[in-house]
Symmetry: C2
Subunit: 455 residues, 2 copies
């Protein structure tokens, strides 16, 4: 038995430290579709002091630790490697405070995003962070991956919606700034180091979320446009002309929309003969939104549009965009990508993907969809078969196009284990050296999530 694990058991007891068959299978894999690996031990702290104690012990033994939350990650960040001790925040659940005057919500990091969204809504606010995995992903994971999602256009990434954190450093030190004030320039904003660091610098245990005002009314529409460039023009026009701007602007290119409304049988508010369908949401009245879309139609900026007249219709429109979560029931195994492309080159990216992807194997399908306004598209590639080397072949095509157009290999899903080999396509050596200096300063023994992001 590993000496570190023995010490963890002595210090924290069998309620907190699990080994062997007592480790639930959920802690052996995330959503990256890699073969499950059971961690050497699973630590399930109930409070921050136990997190601190666990890290102190692991650090003394130079024992590798993998942090876990909702296990919804797509870059194998929380997917254990052999011999790692998994530290899961799944028991540290709970909303500790909603401060209506400050417009903030303080929660333990194992709380799911959906729970936070519902608490915010109940208090008359909107939680700015929203993504498809909301029912399972945790706010600690959202912070650690600087999660993106559906509302980045309006509210920014997770980073822009966090006011305070409590973290535990790799040596067990607890550092806390549960700040609720929007303006606080007293020294370095150290919380920024941990947001997006994917658990490699410390463990996030508490989060102060900055809430947004809840719009009185939200309009939803599916709109057909000629191409990507037209979509960008429509985006900019909407942001200026609508007094409340836009909340959501999700693109579904023809391949994606055809599958959703074809083999998946979902309702088609606009014809699948169009190159690009956009799911748009804007705060404000339906009259204002109709006026805007009518004008855009008159100018030829929009080819067709359908505005949701009811909650049910709105849900059906969202089902189109979220149809990707059901693809596994209808389509071959996918290799998925989450890339950013400079908006000015997005049209070029779409054409290049269509031109080059079929070359990996005859009969290869693909879909392109996503957060167009944020320069972020998702590309899922489905070759008829997946022989050895096929995944790498596909990665070379997609990341080759990404690098060529000055994009990022990870727009929102993080680097984790899976994108480490490709990180130098988007970061210079000087940048990587700087990141490594911070890593070495905060985690000199390299125990936190090794093999993810950097080393």
């Amino acid at each position: 038995m590993n000496a570190c694990i023995a010490e963890l058991q002595r210090a924290l007891g069998p309620d907190i430290v699990k080994t062997g068959d007592d480790i639930p299978v959920r802690n052996s894999f995330d959503q990256t579709k890699m073969a499950p690996i059971s961690p050497a031990a699973l630590v399930l702290p109930r409070n921050v002091e136990q997190v601190s104690e666990a890290l102190k012990i692991c650090n003394a033994h130079k024992q590798a630790v993998v942090t876990q939350g909702g296990m919804t990650g797509l870059a194998a960040g929380a997917h254990p490697r052999e011999g790692e001790v998994a530290l899961s925040l799944e028991r540290m659940v709970g909303i500790e405070e909603v401060d209506v005057a400050a417009g903030t919500l303080t929660a333990l990091s194992g709380t799911t995003l959906q729970t936070i969204q519902e608490a915010a809504d109940h208090a008359g606010f909107l939680c700015a962070i929203d993504l498809g995995a909301r029912g399972s992903c945790t706010i600690g994971g959202n912070v650690s991956t600087n999660a993106g999602g559906n509302q980045v256009l309006r509210f920014g990434m997770t980073r822009r919606n966090i006011l305070g954190l409590e973290v535990v450093l790799p040596d067990g030190t607890i550092v806390r700034s549960l700040n609720k004030m929007m303006k606080n320039n007293a020294g370095y904003d150290w919380t920024q180091y941990f947001i997006g660091a994917e658990g490699t610098l410390g463990v996030v245990t508490r989060v102060v979320v900055m809430l947004q005002p809840k719009p009185a009314d939200i309009q939803t529409a599916v709109v057909a446009v000629t191409n990507t460039e037209a979509a960008i023009r429509l985006l900019r026009r909407a942001q200026s002309a609508l007094p409340g701007g836009l909340l959501v602007f999700e693109a579904m290119w023809q391949e994606f929309y055809t599958i959703a409304t074809g083999i998946m049988g979902l309702n088609a508010p606009v014809s699948p003969d169009n190159e690009l369908a956009i799911l748009m949401e804007a705060p404000g009245t339906r009259a204002d939104f109709e006026t805007f879309l009518a004008a855009a139609y008159e100018e030829g900026l929009v080819l067709d549009a359908a505005i949701a007249q009811s909650r049910a219709e709105r849900d059906r429109m969202w089902a189109l965009r979220e149809s990707v979560y059901e693809h596994h029931k209808y389509l071959p195994k996918q290799v998925g990508f989450d890339i950013s492309i400079p908006i000015a080159r997005m049209e070029e990216a779409v054409q290049a993907l269509r031109a080059e992807l079929p070359s990996v194997m005859p009969g290869t399908q693909h879909v392109i969809f996503g957060h167009l306004a944020d320069s972020n598209i998702h590309v899922n590639v489905m070759p008829p078969e997946m022989p050895d080397g096929m995944k790498h072949k596909i990665e070379s095509v997609v990341y080759g196009i990404t690098a060529r157009l000055g994009g990022s290999v990870s727009a929102e899903h993080g680097v984790g284990q899976t994108k480490r080999p490709w990180l130098n396509l988007s970061r210079t050596d000087a940048e990587l050296a700087l990141m490594n200096r911070i890593k070495t300063a905060l985690d000199p023994n390299g125990i936190m999530n090794p093999g993810r992001v950097l080393v």
Copy 2:
């Protein structure tokens, strides 16, 4: 002659390196009102390579460096200390690119904020960062201090509006990520370390600003409310009810407003008999804004209101809020404060300040005003005389109240030299230790802006 300065002169030449009487007086003081101190030498680089060369030399000699931009700071950050080499970015001026598709503006860090605002406006966008010193302060300084200002309510601090940076580390390494994509999770967002670090971790040389859509129309009003709590209720109501939300929500308590409309003779849109006047701005139509204010008035949430009917009227309303910049012509010498108070305790803070400030000396005046929605107020205290020790006496009262109510000693102006002694009122030892770890990792010789922020 200092060996370091001699080497700087040899490496960069007399055009770049100035000493003695060749150093302009502007580089000897910022706006903190301390006695001017001429730096031992002034380095005026024309490009990033010269910044790199200069830092490499200073680092080798362990020579203290103070970074300078617009010299508008209020915490003595750029105010030289004896024996320092000043490195001014004043020659690195220029807008390099406005990318209309991406909605970004790339500029050299010595460019003034106003120049950037005008370029953004010309291209059909809004620059989210705005503060009174706009004509002189530089974007590099805004980034380094994580400047706040007038539009934080809507767009967040400077940090939330920066997509990319080029910096030079204390050892001369140039690190660049002139990212223009809203979503880029490829590794650590290292730019975050330098935003708000007040020049203590490296020199910012280029900035990529994320631009905002330009509202089609902006409404301005001055509104009278009963007290601070009523103001907060009005704020939350406006954010929800107005489709475009709010842009600006600046508070002027009675003392401030009375001076502006009394001895300074500015026009009073609402009576100075009110406890609190708010300058509000919202995107959208005047009709919508009038409807909102009329409803608020009917409920007694608003006591009186005047909406600007013209650009000239709007300017006169802003002149009320910006009257503080002329105070030195009408009032005794001020000791100024920039504090954050949790919004739920803001009413308490105002009452405590009024109760305790007169105790420092009979006849002491004060004004309270500022970015109420962001939990940030400015407090200027004017004793009839300023004997030795008076400043410290006033600081004890104001920072004592701040600490007692869980506030921050620096909401937006930064720590610089002047607030270092008070930093532990707002930061725990664990937080300060963490900040120092980062400082040590990036600036092991401690050459960058010593004596500011931390050590």
